[in-house]
């Protein structure tokens, strides 16, 4: 089961299931559509005619939006099995470095 109770691997034509969508690295339910430049902010339940389902079917480094962490080829299956939502990468704003404190 998916996070919201929808079956895992659903192809419901929503941004959250689209290969062009990147979830915001921090804020849930918000992301960016990368279908064309300039990218556009959309929300997880938005939809459009360019929808193509996301496929997470081979080992790789993914972003787990549920855990808000990067997962490795060794443990991505663990997150999928728990119904977590995996994406190739999250959306990180270019100015994030201006918002971070340097720590040494």
């Amino acid at each position: 089961m998916g996070r919201d109770g929808a079956p895992a691997g659903t192809t419901e034509k929503k941004c959250k299931n689209c290969k062009y969508w990147r979830p915001h690295v921090f804020y849930e339910g918000i992301g960016v559509c990368t279908y064309k430049w300039p990218w556009k902010m959309t929300f997880e339940d938005d939809s459009c005619e360019h929808f193509e389902p996301i496929k997470i079917d081979k080992p790789g480094f993914y972003w787990c939006a549920t855990c808000r962490t990067r997962v490795t080829p060794e443990d991505y299956m663990y997150h999928l099995a728990k119904g977590h939502r995996l994406y190739p990468m999250p959306y990180v704003e270019p100015e994030v470095k201006e918002e971070l404190y340097s720590v040494e």
Partner: protein
């Protein structure tokens, strides 16, 4: 009197820094003094961080809780700060169903404590559960449909909004500000000031502020807290800056004629050196240019390979005639131990600005402490006195940075200038510093040194004139030496040379005025004396005011110089009081032990905090009352996340 606390929290990197900075400026535009404490994690992106902003009319020097308004725009912030809520919680209605166990970034220990409290109150482990609990407590809950407001903002901005985090924070901030009646124009002006020159950032955030205000007005018009009036510092012609402790020390060093700064990056010290790097080459004012016969000024800032090198390089610069300093925190000071001894025996003027974070070892790099007092006083071997000072706030830090440079050169010694993370990272408004009384005193310098030159000449006050490398030849050996710097282990000469070095500190003790060493605030005849140092000052000054309102007359003895120590004065104040309470940010009560060492006075009651968080005013007031009521010897403070 307005004494307000505004807290905003969220994921580290997710716009909290900008939101806090904008809030500070908005409250300043409203005419108030501000103090913004930042808490953040050492493992960087995505972990929880927050700003606690204190807003007052006369003086804002310390954080406080509870917060009148808590803005929590993610679920973790709600779970982390619901106990901070004094009146309002602003939250995102989109995260109501979020369960605490699904938040991976949150500490399991905090989760367990929160769940225990939610269970005890019979509410679920969700944001909604927390909201129910706060309703029971009579708090005012302000749910904001964040995604909908964000969508409206994007539509109105007419651009594809990809700087999402800042807009989210602006929305939360704006709702919070509207609840206390800070005008949207002030917030928008603050946005323009903070993002000056970045039109692409300003526009969507100004729109986000308006969208949020409009929403709040339509939906929460009736639940306004009594609005805060314009503060006393509105529209005055006295300019103010908003600076961090790191910034203000750098500014003091520039004003104090610093020429070389070395450093190895370390939290929470590095920002000072990064600030100084902006002044490697700058134009002088016409008056300064004429006086110095130069067109431009500049500070050489060098990032070295480690702290061993940082202090040795600063010593080298000093011997060559440059005013020099380095800046570090506890682990860096550990590496500097050997060079500190070298500076001591060759009498090299050098300033070490030491920012205290939670130790020992790597400890808690981004958290506050006052636990490096022993290290500052005693690090290094041999009979090695040095000057050790600690600043209590941003303004003290500015002038102390200048004085430290003067004392280093005047008494030809390392000076360790202590500051806490609580000051280094806190943002505070200050009036433009008064430079009219700033003096640069370089001490005894021999401009035309003979050859050979008796660099370590025996003198009445222990201070020998120094000459710069290049003007003559001086042997700076780490061995014991004679007046010409030549290695020498003759027993009679050894006594003379060691006594000469110690004599300098007797001279310093006599010459440095008492007001630079210690200050007694409040009624000198009060029967209760609170003793503290560093950032304890802010909390203690507010505490003695609050205690007075409750009929308890206490004063505050603020120690600024630990070596040479103002023994006679401190002893006289402590002996006069009926109850003495020592307050500090370390577990050993290091200052209390130092006071006993230098005065023989044993402080009977201690209030200590070593959670890595600053001392909040409310918990200090409570601890003093607790001690007066029970006579307890020790209270350990723990407020704040």
């Amino acid at each position: 009197m307005v004494d307000l606390v505004f807290e905003i929290g969220g994921p580290q990197g997710g716009g909290i820094e900008s939101a806090g900075q904008i809030a500070l400026r908005a409250f300043m535009l409203k005419g108030y003094r501000v103090y913004g404490t930042r808490e953040y994690h050492s493992n960087i992106m995505g972990k929880h961080s927050y700003f606690n902003i204190r807003v007052r009319e006369d003086r804002a020097l310390a954080p406080n809780l509870p917060a009148d308004i808590v803005v929590a725009l993610d679920a973790e912030s709600v779970f982390t700060h619901y106990n901070d809520v004094g009146e309002f919680l602003v939250y995102d209605t989109g995260v109501l169903s979020k369960d605490i166990d699904s938040i991976q970034s949150m500490s399991k220990y905090l989760k367990a404590r929160v769940k225990e409290e939610l269970d005890a109150n019979g509410v679920p482990h969700t944001v909604e559960g927390v909201i129910k609990l706060l309703e029971k407590r009579g708090k005012r809950l302000v749910g904001v449909p964040l995604r909908s407001l964000l969508k409206t903002t994007a539509e109105k901005a007419g651009v594809s909004l990809v700087s999402i985090s800042r807009a989210i924070n602006t929305i939360g901030l704006a709702v919070g500000m509207s609840l206390i009646g800070v005008e949207v124009e002030k917030l928008q002006k603050a946005i323009e000031l903070f993002f000056a020159g970045k039109q692409k950032v300003i526009k969507p955030n100004v729109i986000a502020a308006q969208v949020a205000y409009d929403y709040a007005k339509q939906n929460f018009g009736g639940i306004h807290r009594e609005v805060i009036p314009d503060g006393p510092h509105i529209n005055t012609d006295k300019p103010r800056l908003v600076v961090s402790g790191n910034d203000v020390v750098a500014m003091g060093k520039i004003a104090g004629g610093l020429r070389v700064q070395t450093y190895y990056p370390i939290t929470p010290a590095a920002d000072e050196s990064l600030y100084l790097e902006k002044f490697e080459d700058f134009p002088l004012t016409p008056e300064a240019a004429e006086k110095l016969g130069l067109e431009r000024g500049g500070i050489v800032v060098v990032q070295t390979e480690d702290e061993i090198s940082a202090l040795n390089m600063a010593i080298g610069a000093s011997l060559a005639g440059a005013r020099s300093a380095t800046s570090t925190s506890g682990p860096g000071l550990s590496l500097m131990a050997e060079a500190l001894g070298y500076a001591g025996i060759i009498e090299a003027p050098v300033v070490i600005t030491l920012y205290m974070r939670g130790g020992p070892s790597t400890g808690m790099p981004t958290r506050n402490s006052q636990s490096d007092l022993f290290a500052a006083l005693f690090q290094g071997h041999g009979d090695l006195p040095r000057i050790v000072i600690a600043s209590g706030d941003h303004e003290e830090a500015f002038y102390d940075a200048i004085k430290a440079l003067n004392w280093a050169e005047k008494y030809q010694t390392p000076v360790i200038h202590l500051l806490e993370k609580a000051i280094a990272n806190a943002m505070k408004d200050i009036f433009n510093p008064d430079l009219s009384n700033v003096v640069i005193d370089r001490g005894k310098i021999e401009k035309n040194p003979p050859k050979p030159f008796p660099r370590f000449k025996y003198t009445e006050d222990g201070i020998s004139p120094r000459a710069f490398l290049g003007d003559t030849v001086v042997w700076y050996t780490s061995n014991e030496h004679d007046q010409f710097g030549r290695r020498n282990e003759d027993p009679v000469e050894r006594i003379k040379m060691q006594d000469k070095r110690l004599k300098k500190f007797e001279t310093a003790a006599k010459e440095i005025p008492l007001e630079d060493k210690v200050t007694l605030y409040g009624d000198p005849d009060a029967k209760i004396t609170i003793v503290g140092w560093g950032a304890v000052k802010g909390a203690a000054l507010d505490a003695i005011d609050k205690l007075k309102e409750e009929g308890i007359n206490a004063n505050y003895l603020h120690i600024r110089m630990f070596m040479p120590f103002p023994s006679d004065y401190v002893k006289s104040v402590l002996e006069k009081a009926e109850t003495v309470i020592g307050v500090e940010g370390n577990a050993l009560a290091q200052a209390a032990q130092v006071i006993r060492m230098f005065t023989g006075f044993d402080i009977p009651h201690l209030v200590v905090k070593y959670t890595g968080r600053p001392i909040f005013v409310a918990e200090l007031v409570e601890s003093v009352k607790h001690i007066l009521r029970t006579g307890d010897k020790k209270v350990v403070l723990s407020l704040g996340q």
